[in-house]
């Protein structure tokens, strides 16, 4: 299967600043790719180059077999795009605005009316279609932005921070909308909310300082966390010392870390020495010693730990390089 979106060696400079540095990836139909990264990492710039708003300094973007540099209109026809902050013509009503977008997307007559009606229903805009966009709440504005992105049923959907500034219910709605479309499209979205990646993305990429640092399924990224496969156990006891000693005697563990103690309960974090979580041996030990176990769970690893580890490691590496340069 050929990739729907194919980005290779994409680079963009703004003056001396390198916003995007040699990024390559492919997205297939049915994939939801999440761009993760701190603010200013180059997520939006990458999206702007894929959608043809910015011209790359180097590298190519191929969407559905067409190159953005040589046939921009063909590429833009395939893409639905929600720019960062969902800019809209605020003096128009959602109805007028969606008709405008539908027409500029080449929809006419009955089909246009049907599509406009469909998207209004899909994103629940019925109650505000005749109100000027400038008077709408942030959540409604974002939904109008989403509606214009999907009105022509594009093969590729690019969403720059689709849930930014929405309340939890609205976030949930937008995420289910994305999930509903996921199987039929290639979707790229950016976010700095990590749980969103778990919720909607089939694949995630971490970008920082314009570089691609990690690429994989959310689970495989989470597995890079130092906490991955460690077991957390909470025991009701007044004297944590013997418990700690017993845990350390287990064969398949690397180390034991004592966490907080409160209300007569003590928590321990047991790190595995293998690629399996030592949950059965810890459980067996607890039963043998007759501990009062309040909680026992396996840590799968947290995205934000990985995120912080990956993005700050790079910063440290950069500082080292700068120091070496300074000393040599």
């Amino acid at each position: 299967m050929t990739a729907m979106v194919e980005v290779s060696h994409l680079t963009k400079h703004f003056g001396a600043f390198t916003a995007v540095d040699d990024i390559s990836f492919k997205v297939n139909k049915g994939e939801v790719l999440g761009f993760l990264g701190p603010n200013g990492a180059g997520k939006s710039t990458t999206m702007k180059m894929i959608t043809g708003f910015l011209t790359p300094d180097a590298g190519t973007v191929i969407v559905g077999g067409d190159n953005i540099a040589t046939s921009p209109v063909a590429v833009k026809t395939r893409i639905g795009y929600l720019p960062e902050g969902a800019p809209l013509y605020s003096d128009m009503t959602p109805e007028g605005f969606l008709h405008f977008i539908a027409e500029i997307r080449g929809l006419r007559g009955a089909e246009k009316l049907r599509r406009v009606e469909d998207v209004i229903q899909q994103v629940n805009l019925e109650s505000v279609v005749y109100k000027p966009i400038e008077t709408l709440s942030k959540g409604f504005k974002r939904r109008v932005g989403l509606a214009q992105a999907i009105i022509h049923n594009p093969e590729v959907l690019i969403l720059d921070e689709p849930t930014d500034g929405l309340d939890p219910n609205q976030k949930f709605e937008v995420r289910s909308l994305i999930q509903g479309m996921a199987s039929k499209k290639a979707i790229i979205l950016s976010t700095h909310i990590l749980e969103e990646v778990d919720a909607v993305c089939s694949r995630a990429m971490i970008i920082a300082n314009g570089k691609l640092l990690a690429d994989g399924t959310p689970a495989s990224l989470a597995a890079k966390s130092p906490l991955h496969n460690c077991v957390e156990i909470t025991i009701r006891t007044d004297d944590p010392e013997p418990v700690s000693r017993d845990l350390e005697k287990l064969s398949d563990i690397k180390s034991v870390e004592k966490l907080t103690a409160n209300n007569g309960c003590v928590s321990f974090r047991v790190f595995s020495s293998t690629d399996q979580a030592p949950v059965s041996s810890v459980n067996q030990l607890a039963r043998d010693k007759d501990w009062k176990v309040e909680n026992l769970q396996v840590e799968r690893g947290r995205m934000d730990d990985v995120f912080r580890a990956v993005t700050t490691k790079q910063k440290i590496a950069q500082q080292d390089a700068a120091q070496q340069k300074a000393t040599s």
Binding site: K48, T51, G52, F53, L54, V73, A74, K76, T77, I79, Y81, P83, E84, G85, P87, L88, Y89, S90, D91, M92, G96, F100, I101, E103, I104, R105, G106, P132, Q148
Partner: protein, 244 residues
Amino acid sequence: MANIWVIFKRELASYFTTPIAYIFIIIFIFLSGIFAFYIGNFFDRGQADLAPFFNFHPWLYLFLIPALAMRLWAEERKSGTIELLLTMPITMTQAVLGKFFAAWVFTTIALSLTFPIWITVNYLGEPDNGVILAGYIGSLLMAGAFLSIGSCVSAMTRNQVIAFVVSAVICLMFVLSGFPMVLDFFSLWAPEFIVTAISSFSFLTHFEAISKGVIDLRDIIYFISLISFWLFANAVLIEYKKAD
């Protein structure tokens, strides 16, 4: 062509969803009336023509047209909708032309609403309506030239006030280069061909020629090529400064 039409419709409608259209039309009609009747001595001249009406159009346009054109691109930049517009499957030429024609047709609407003065002059005397028609055509072409400058300048900035001031100054230069005072100053020391060159760049020279009833192809070509040049510059500017 279809895309130009879609952009044109949206742009023209947006003048009327805000008070801009109504304020512009009222002020335009009011001022053109004042200029013609009081400063131009429409009645005292005792002549059945609209010369006093058309003579003030360059000066009226000088500040009204930049006010109309300043929002064309600066507002798109400011609100970020330029990113939306330019990621639609359209070409830059279509976007520039759609917007320009919307502003031009809007000016045509405003200008055509000055028809009472034409009725007045026909009621009072027997004017040469051919000359008056030529005056309207000349005025429209000149408005188009002002608009193309305004549109191009508006593409350079996200600040509408800057767009207004800069395009007004550029328009002023194009008007003044045919002003007798300026030409006299140059004719004192500059050779004849330079004076002619300067005056041939002026809106005034070409507009006055047309509004006297002489529709010379050269005057029309002058305005059309001026409009084309500024719109071309407009498209190039946006292409290279999209994200700024």
